[in-house]
Symmetry: C2
Amino acid sequence: MQFHLNGFRTGNPEIPEPAGSRAAAAPAGALPEGVDVLIVGCGPAGLTLAAQLAAFPDIRTRIVEQKSGPLSLGQADGVACRTVEMFEAFGFCERVLKEAYWVNETTFWKPDDQQRAHIARSGRIQDTEDALSEFPHVILNQARIHDFYLDVMRNAATRLEPDYSRRLQDLTISPASGEAGNGDSAYPVTVTLERLDPAHEGQIETVKARYVVGCDGARSVVRKSLGRLLSGDSANQAWGVMDVLAVTDFPDIRIKSAIQSAEEGSLLIIPREGGYLVRLYIELDKLNENERVTSLNITTDRLIAAAQRILHPYTLEVKEIAWWSVYEIGQRLCEKFDDTPDGAEDCLPRVFIAGDACHTHSPKAGQGMNVSMQDGFNLGWKLASVLRGQSSPRILRTYSDERQSIAEELIDFDRKFAKMFSAAPRDPAKADGKGIDPAEFQTYFVKQGRFTAGTETRYAPSIISDEPTYQHLAKGLTIGMRFHSAPVIRLADAKPVHLGHTVKADGRWRLFAFAATEDPAGASSRLRALCEFLARSPQSPIGQYTPKGADIDSVIDVRAIFQQAHRELAIEAMPSFLLPTKGRYGLRDYEKMFCPDLKSGRDIFDLRAIDRSRGCMVLVRPDQYVANVLPLDGYAELETFFGRFMLRS
Amino acid sequence: MQFHLNGFRTGNPEIPEPAGSRAAAAPAGALPEGVDVLIVGCGPAGLTLAAQLAAFPDIRTRIVEQKSGPLSLGQADGVACRTVEMFEAFGFCERVLKEAYWVNETTFWKPDDQQRAHIARSGRIQDTEDALSEFPHVILNQARIHDFYLDVMRNAATRLEPDYSRRLQDLTISPASGEAGNGDSAYPVTVTLERLDPAHEGQIETVKARYVVGCDGARSVVRKSLGRLLSGDSANQAWGVMDVLAVTDFPDIRIKSAIQSAEEGSLLIIPREGGYLVRLYIELDKLNENERVTSLNITTDRLIAAAQRILHPYTLEVKEIAWWSVYEIGQRLCEKFDDTPDGAEDCLPRVFIAGDACHTHSPKAGQGMNVSMQDGFNLGWKLASVLRGQSSPRILRTYSDERQSIAEELIDFDRKFAKMFSAAPRDPAKADGKGIDPAEFQTYFVKQGRFTAGTETRYAPSIISDEPTYQHLAKGLTIGMRFHSAPVIRLADAKPVHLGHTVKADGRWRLFAFAATEDPAGASSRLRALCEFLARSPQSPIGQYTPKGADIDSVIDVRAIFQQAHRELAIEAMPSFLLPTKGRYGLRDYEKMFCPDLKSGRDIFDLRAIDRSRGCMVLVRPDQYVANVLPLDGYAELETFFGRFMLRS
């Protein structure tokens, strides 16, 4: 954490001074007439986006929600490794890690071969493969994740709070939308909202927005107003889900367990935070064609009885039900996540949809909340960058391109996973070969571990994600994938840190310069030459895109990683570009240089397969995805890359 | 973290429901007429004590402070490893670790042998030896530590807030004080306080208390009212201290650095949190006999000029001074930390003093705040245990015994450390041998590392800390010293955790049963026999001291550590005593059993030198100090130990 740059201030450094900004222009309790971004819906996608935009006092953001206040009882609870990495960027991962259940292992149970009415443990695996992420896979009530985001928003300079009790009535997009200025044409989206709180019930508010993002769930009014559909089919399989406090002699009640009984269906046990609570996903009857799960009139008694039958011979005595629901499995997807028509390459999006509004699937793989939050993270920096005049609005088209493919992959995965889960286990005593081999299910589960951890996401080449021309210089940092962090030692103070944790959710690009073998301080070092180029060349993207008077790292934050041990290097001999002076006092920033953590034996150059003899530049987007890998002297490529979408300041 | 035991509750699990308790009996803004404990002073000692007592709704605690509100600018800033361990017990170590500066290394600078007017780096060492603690040595503004404690108090069931703007006028102890009942004799201490806030200025409040603790600093009125003195002498050496934002080319400005110049005195650099702020301790003139530092009329300009001269040839340009002060080194100590007369073995203390009220010393070793907080932690559980009827008030005598010796050691250390710091460095070109060899200073610093880390504290045998009869069974867990944590795997959910982090600041004793080599689930295992004894024998301290209806672990929390890998053991085969049913639903607590972390190669049995063939019991006090090591079948010794001071419920 860095603070006190512009003077010492007492109190919590995580709460900056409020900005006397456009953000605060509306009277309390009412929405302003015009906003830069209107977010509809306070779910995981909307809150991630709002938390990201709240960091910028020069952007007027509002988030509206139909409910009268924050969620207090969760629905989702799975938090993938990749999501915890993102929480680190938002500054609250330590709260999640402290409070959550950690999924360390997963067990598999199947019918006992000798006694098929009994279940028996058939496998036990590590949940997440080693070194996939520096963070674990955890489980935490969605409501708590919301709380953490709301704290980020509340503590941000904009002091952003949701406007509750607002139902979206209508959304229209003005056909001729201009880009610049503050006239009506700059606010092409008109939204009408109905207030639902008793004091203002029925009042209609009209808000004009530059951009609107519909994070309003599977029945999204924003999506419908775009004329888009969620298409897909239902598998006609009903499931129940319950969060319970229970007493059981099932030995793996504190371990994530997938249980397939011979005749009574399947059960998934997800232990929950706090040591006592547990979530049960319980397979119910197959639905008939066109039958809805609600028509089954399922009661909690029936759910409990089903769970008890599946767990036989173990007992389950439910003492309290914290939350429960029934649902049918279905995978549905929207063909595009914005308002631009197909094929219209020049058309720029003004309205987006994210989260359940554009993709729904079964909850058991614990993916929904995670993918929705990554939707928000993907879109947030792009909107901020465009609204702040740093990037061309063309980058906004990449949101639908990137996230729609990811949702498609998720839906494919989920269809297969859900089918496996609902299939009866094969009986070795029967020659019919029907049903699924429990071992096959386990193998599939292991194979998909990276996918469910969220670390397999890979964006295709685009204007913000380059072709892998120089990928061989950093084989372990794949272009299009998230920057896989590794431990390093900070040169100036010898602190062991994670390099990836320098990538905060602050809308900045990162340029990691991995130095070649030579002494980086040497007059002929390639790192010194790069610093010289970045600091002084008219072609430097730093010079071209950093606003006058702004800190040198405010748009592109350059950090160097050396191969030498930290005690072998003299900080005073390094290029001064790596000790930049910042803020109103011109204080030096000492946190730009890093060395491998040789003592722990985990050398980042080995871990991420960096070409030691040549070094390289690794460009990382504000959402932590690797945008490019270039040679240390790839000045022209660097200029070309940024030149495609960045705007001169 | 465990929660939801007595039913699911939404919201932050770190904030329990408020208790409708005696704690809330007073009208807002006024002190109640009678309290169990009155703490005078909101410094580190007082807040640690208050945070500890705030956990108990059945104890009426108040803390008063002369100032009108919380501290916003710090004085102390050093946080030793041992202190972070304690913060873990209070539940806020992750906030400290995130925000603080980490002292990873220390450098030493001395006059350059060739050019003595220049300083040159003479050494660089790791600040804390490996594996001394699982936590680092950190630096953080005292005000922020206060904030964290205030949050703990505010969030506790008692919702304890300090009563500000109260000046202690007078304290009297009634000579014939009874122990039991609620009559006047149960509240033998009478305190009068003057209100200082404009709305009540000059109003006098009288409070009767069972116990009073003076945490009211070096000029403690509580100490004076006991007729006790701080004795010792001043070294007549003036120092200045400044927190600054500065620009410098001194290369180690982000590393703790001890600098001895040839002619200009010494300087200690302590980098501070946030990446920019730095604290400078600057040696000033020797004082004449009876001269006070205030008489020198030292200005910040003079402090800066002195620092600049010492740093030569490096430059220092101070941009902002966040805080500064001048002080003279002096080591002073009170002979006893309570109100009992010397030699009166039967006399029970009613008034205590803690922190600067009973020991003062120089700040440069970063010890003051740490030792003061440990005073509060030492006293807190003892007061709670006595007030809740669990222990004999005789244990209160151990507070002064234990903490006075520690303060004495600190004063001895500080005297030597301060003297070395102020001595001129020896000039190798001069044959007079005068001054101190910088290498000797560095050697002393390294040798004292464990002391300054706070991990060397060792309490002498007493009724709550046994003789080391069976110490050989756990050589790495020394009786009288803090329980040195080690990594383990929790059996029920395979989570990697630190065993020591089960010792929270909740007033409970811990009994760690380290199993012998045999299968712990076996019918003849010594662990099973111990569980049988603890669960059922009339001699069991669990049975004797746990109140009826209370959870089985509410007074003594038993945890078992096995030698086998966690996948080799079947939780369902373990003694049911280790899966206790708790709370209103009788839910099972799955967090009582642990295995070595064999994958990481750090086996707790090796790390702490536990006798593998015999196993052992390790008893840990509520303040994390090892009270006893006993054989697994040391039932009689266990009963005898607790029988010395615990009261049957």
